[in-house]
Symmetry: none
Subunit: 246 residues, 2 copies
């Protein structure tokens, strides 16, 4: 299945329509919107989409980026510039190859785009496996529709050069859904919070994001996610139990 | 020298501006216009070009396509579909490779784009060395600016020294030595052992190896190793302390 396109907090309906049209040109079909600024449905999105209005009509709406990504197993975040995060940065071409391989392995994939003004914030990036940055000359002013276009183009183009199917993991070692990963994040961060590790408060979010980046890079299997959660429980449980007993 | 972009009989100033902007994103600089419908200069072209207004200002004007191409040694014509002409049809990627090679050989190259309504006519195509067709899905509605964008992108990419994937590591983010990793393994396994996680004994070694494999795959930085060790201490410390106190 082709990657889902997720637009986080898009502002102009015209840009949503342009994104849909760019998708249709290169065989992408599923569009998800996180809290579009001007509400939904949006007549200008439909007008701009023209022949791709079907994609706009079928677009699904989410309140948060985390919810929009919940059922997916591989998500790449598009960013225009370096973010100082320890995270893999891919060209659109390399990302397209990896998306194709993942699809062959049965994964549900997506590309996440930020809004026109500010792009994605660091919390949103922390929900993704890696970052895609389009290489540009010194002058760089790609708009949202163009960013979708170039990524969709690379995905379409990758179809004929995709290496033969190969999956890193056996059948029992499926990739976790985004929701399962988010539960791991929440579990770990709760325990670290309780133990005073995420301190001081002003550093809390940056520390949590750094930990998430590490976990993403490990590309855990579902089984490994469960193992990690078991480890967290084991490491933390004595503490709670003994405290209660005292 | 980068390829010249030649727009034959463009209609809307906005599209000329969008083409200039697409060019600037990917390092193209020379724009030639053949008989733009609304005359020249065109305020809307300048407005749309924004930061790329320099390209619009420097654009040169020609009465015919033949004159616009006269001093060039290699020209590719872009078309949206097959024309039944016995002419080589290139993908933008293949064209970009050939343009790069030609430039190295001292040639003056160009990509020719038709107008928004009808594209290039067969006479114009007959002036060119080969045809570039952008591969698309069944739905195909690329506009002039997008066609320039994709060709410029491929040209830029053909020179690309951007690695397909890299990780954003700062200077502080060196890779750990093997000894530092082994200390992490020992620390983690000791705590998991103490908490009863590595149980039963006959599975101890296999479980420890699986955890190590996960950690290896994350390709941790030294800083992340230290963070992990801090997390283990934080998660386990209450337990030990309280136990001692009891």
């Amino acid at each position: 299945m082709a990657p889902v396109v997720v637009l986080s907090h898009p502002q102009l309906g015209e840009n949503i329509g342009a994104a849909a049209r760019a998708m249709a040109n290169f065989g992408l079909a599923e569009l998800r919107l996180v809290a579009p600024r001007d509400g939904w449905p949006n007549g200008r999105a439909q007008a701009m989409a023209a022949g791709a209005a079907g994609i706009v009509d079928a677009a699904t709406l989410f309140a948060t980026t985390a919810e929009a990504l919940a059922d997916l197993t591989r998500v790449y975040a598009t960013t225009a510039r370096e973010r100082g995060i320890t995270k893999e940065v891919l060209t659109p071409a390399e990302a397209a190859q990896r998306l194709r391989s993942a699809e062959v392995g049965g994964e549900r994939t997506a590309i996440l785009f930020g809004n026109e003004r500010a792009g994605l914030d660091n919390d949103e990036i922390s929900l993704c496996d890696a970052v895609i940055t389009i290489p540009t000359a010194q002058f760089a002013s790609l708009n949202l529709g163009q960013a979708v276009l170039l990524n969709a183009y690379e995905w379409f183009r990758a179809a004929d050069t995709t290496p033969a199917a190969r999956t890193e993991h056996g059948a029992l070692h499926r990739r976790p859904t985004r929701a399962e990963l988010f539960q791991l994040f929440a579990h770990l961060e709760d325990e670290l919070e309780a133990s005073g590790f995420l301190y001081p408060p002003e550093k809390h979010d940056a520390m949590a994001r750094a930990i998430r980046a590490t976990i993403h890079r490990a590309r855990l299997t579902y089984q490994e996610v469960q193992t990690l959660r078991g480890m967290i429980v084991a490491l933390a449980k004595g503490k709670h139990r003994v405290r209660k007993d005292c």
